[in-house]
Symmetry: D2
Subunit: 343 residues, 4 copies
């Protein structure tokens, strides 16, 4: 059994990790840390876990965490980078669901996250955990940077086109929509039900932190510099990300449907819908699947890719467990065999 700890287990990605890990056949949950809730039984905070979890939250303890085989960080940005080095020294594998290790360029990171990075020397070693792209590197990773929710959907959608070299990389547009849980479990006015329900808006229009992460991933495969307009919107629902991705085709003879099906053939968690269908976020709610579709409106030279995922699962906790499976030599789907409940 893999002995697992979670640092910062009280947020939305934390409770999602728990939902999957308590039924994961190869995992033994050892320690769930939360300074604020130390001593509180997990099931008191999250009654959905009654009958499944007997543990209580504890204050972070190096001794307990060092005794784990793997530690997940479901913490705000800036925490994992202060604790990861010691854990790695103790031989613990680290899976960071925050943004601390996602960017390779420390200057870009510090610009967007407005902090000094605590261990820039680890940025190059950290493996970016977009499983369908980095599978082999992930298998050998000690330090895993789990991708952001938007970056997962946007990269999975654009990569086949960029790899095939059939679009103008200079003017990509990603119009993305997310449920409110993407902002986390924070007592902020802007996240109140009364503020977000029955309304829709773009947000972070001055620039969202996932922009450099997406751009870094796309630049890796593009032969020409990527120019990306990334615009996030908030949907009055709890879970789900939908991305509508627009690009100008430089080659209109390509069979787009074939290209996408070939790109993801054999993937357990990425699925290309038949031509003409549009994916809905509910079809993947609570599950680790990403569904894609591609079309060319009115047969013009604009290609549109649609991607949906559950921001808390494939966009966070689920992909983190997919990474855990890869890092420990397990079948990639272990513990992730959950079907979206519809309706």
């Amino acid at each position: 059994m893999i002995k697992v700890g979670i640092v910062g287990a009280t947020g939305y990605t934390g409770v999602e990790l728990l939902r999957f890990l308590v039924l994961h056949p190869a995992v033994e949950l050892r320690v769930l840390t939360s300074r604020a809730e130390a001593g509180v039984p997990v099931a008191a905070l999250y009654p959905n876990l009654r009958k499944y979890v007997d543990l209580a939250f504890t204050a972070p303890s190096a001794e307990q965490l060092n005794a784990c085989d793997a530690v997940f960080f479901a913490t705000p940005n800036g925490t994992a980078m202060t604790m990861a080095p010691a854990l790695l020294d103790a031989g613990v594998k680290v899976i960071d669901l925050s943004a601390d290790f996602r960017l390779k360029d420390v200057k870009v990171w510090e610009h967007w996250y407005r902090m000094t990075h605590a261990c820039p020397e680890l940025l190059q070693e950290a493996v970016y955990g977009l499983c369908e792209v980095n599978r082999e590197a992930i298998k050998g990773a000690r330090l895993l940077a789990n991708p952001g929710c938007y970056p997962t959907a946007v990269q999975l959608g654009f990569l086949p086109l960029l790899r095939a070299g059939v679009i103008d990389a200079a003017s990509l547009i990603a119009d993305c929509k997310s449920g409110v849980s993407g902002a986390g479990r924070k007592a902020e006015l802007g996240l109140l039900h009364g503020e977000v329900n029955e309304s829709f808006k773009a947000y972070a229009i001055g620039g969202h932190r996932h922009l450099p992460e997406i751009k870094q991933g796309l630049d890796l495969v593009s032969t020409t510099p990527v120019g990306l307009t990334f615009m996030p919107h908030m949907v009055p629902m709890i879970r789900g990300i939908q991305a509508s991705l627009y690009a100008r085709l430089t080659d209109t003879r390509v069979d787009l449907q074939q290209l996408f099906e070939d790109s993801y053939r054999g993937e357990a968690f990425v699925d290309v819908l038949p031509a003409g269908q549009s994916p809905e976020t509910r079809s993947v709610r609570g599950s680790n699947h990403c569904q894609l579709a591609v079309c060319r409106p009115q047969g013009g030279d604009t290609v549109v890719v649609f991607a949906v995922e559950d921001n808390l699962v494939k966009g966070a906790a689920g992909q983190a467990i997919q990474n855990l499976n890869l890092m420990f030599g397990l079948p990639e789907t272990t513990g992730l065999n959950v079907i979206a409940a519809l309706p």
Copy 2:
């Protein structure tokens, strides 16, 4: 493997049956019937089942259904009663999620359902599948009447009090609230998002068909005649039932918390919250659990019981599978190990 068929698999309880059955380790899905969707792949109608179900819907065929070990009916009222006799004759066990076999008194049934019953002779044999109450009878059942959604919650809430004889059975009040999926997947104006979202109301105020079903169940354990006011309300959400149950205590010395904990000790799917807590429907969304709580406001002589369940799971498909497990000698929780996704 238990060979299973579903008649009427395209509705909300049908797709829920599928969600659980495709991962059930002892079940082999053989036939999913739908006249309207015959020939359509299941995953085309329900994209959440892509990668999990390869079957297509078929028109009902006696031959195919007779070859099953068990057949679920997820049909409108009035269908199961026409097909069940032949299936039983063929040695197939029948689990009916509709109301055809729930009431013992055919006159009461015909009054509320406004049809002539097709096989009243089977009403006495049919076993009412409220697992926590009828477990032994269910194990031997050929014909299983799966309880209604409201009746499951209301009976589980009132039964400990009636069995203990500590309330006035003559004036019970069940103020119940349900998500919209309880009305099924029907193209009706009253179920449109535009008609039900951001609104709340009581409905069926002239009398709801679950009233006689609840009353029948409560009368079985009450030493005095049950008088029940049952009032259903529609909540602008998809899933979930919450029942607030009110009764006048005839014995105010009883330890209500203890009574409830004793009543459901050892149950896998019924859970009594600690005193002072109020159950939320989201804690059991998508799972087969029912959570209960009991309190005595201001220490008066009114007792209030709260019950929550997912109307499509413990109130329909989940309990049906729990019954299947009992009928086939499997552990009761087989295939039902699903945790509510929160938030």
Copy 3:
């Protein structure tokens, strides 16, 4: 023109006051106070008021408030009682939307609100502003205690029955459901969209502060002591209160429909639906109307009354303006001629 000020204008009842007052033909808005938002234009915080309000919020100033003819308090409990005496001395009429002046018995108030009352000597003078009940007293009021949201609906529903003496006052049950805005605009985890959407629960099960307010109002008209179980629930919607009120009839010959229609004949804002209909909260969303219906399920001896209102309008800001109209000799409907937008 009536010169009007609002203290604490940034909350949900504050912005609702503004929505009505800026179009009120006899009102001139003079001062909107908010310590936290002093200097911020109202329309920056509430873009729905762009083109309608040019004012900015200001820190509270005795001089400015004393120059008003009427001051509304849309503040948390405990603020109005510290400022009202000076305003009254300055000849300003005070309309308090908080709970500071709603209860006559200071001990009961201090028990439920867990504060020492700052001016108990004003409690007897304060007029309880349930317009349809206290109209004449309101016309002469200097200090107006605007009713709570639940108490408005529950009292309007129970009063005809209690006045007619046809129910057992000792065992009333009020099962009430409210949209989330009833909790105000506060940065609390429990009010996040992620916490309340797609879920339903009872809350404050240990006792809600509106209980003594309702009981005080019912006791005034009942010839026997009122025993009330009041249970609030949270609905995943923004606005609206629905109350299902249960009582045992002591006289089953009374024509309930006639009783209710007679009770509210001629009222502009209270409306009794035809027999057999159930009111929906959306029919009064954004408007100052309360809709009622009454029925006797299965012709038994339990009467059920349904009441709906918009908690922020008839349950707060709208009724406060109705009171302003009465206090200043205007037609009661002035400035309140708003129809619910449906759907």
Copy 4:
């Protein structure tokens, strides 16, 4: 008083027309037709109109409609074109909220609407009622084609840029999101609460009928041919449209904020937000306002315009009344002085 009739008054745009018209000081409602609901009081179908409307729906009668000064069509596509000629002959002004008269090219119309047009000879006379663009022509119109909901938002957003000639007209992208009421009040499975709530998707990805309407409007002001990708999405809310409009700047020196403010200065119902703000649909819910904002992400050469409106008001009934006002020489805002209720 303007004598007004509504044909097809039972849908969502019909009831919205009523909400405004019953309080419109210059309008007298004379006839509301509905074949299906003939004889039913309006307030029985729409309880929000109790106390405001005493009329009942009637079957369409030429005599009654001919006696009106103006007739609104809130009908499905294909009805107005069969009745408009006779009404115009009788001297009645016609305001069509359907699509029958929106396109000038009958071939394009027949291609997208899959019907033969009944009176193509009227297409040239019909005035397209986008008030801020066509004000003078509207004043003299006999036959008014009220714009579609998406076309209103998209045109108001793109027009300043196209008029100024600062964008590449060949590759415009309109990523639009609408509440569910945009699909009307129809008993269709796809519009059920259970199907659309807590989910988000693109729809009509093969081509939406509003595309040619938008293109026609943009082509009128563009000096080069317009190439537009228009992608509609469905938001799990009742009302509201948000459009995120993307274009490539050909002139990056233009002061975009100034351009937009100048374009709509003096407009009562179009409002440009201060730089850096993002409009929310809730700020205009139930009101006739359209709010716009413009930005240039990361200072690049892509301009993004955001537009929000209530699809049933500025996108339908409200704009229709704005057109009525213009056609009858009334101040444009008459009867439209309604503020969005927030939250």
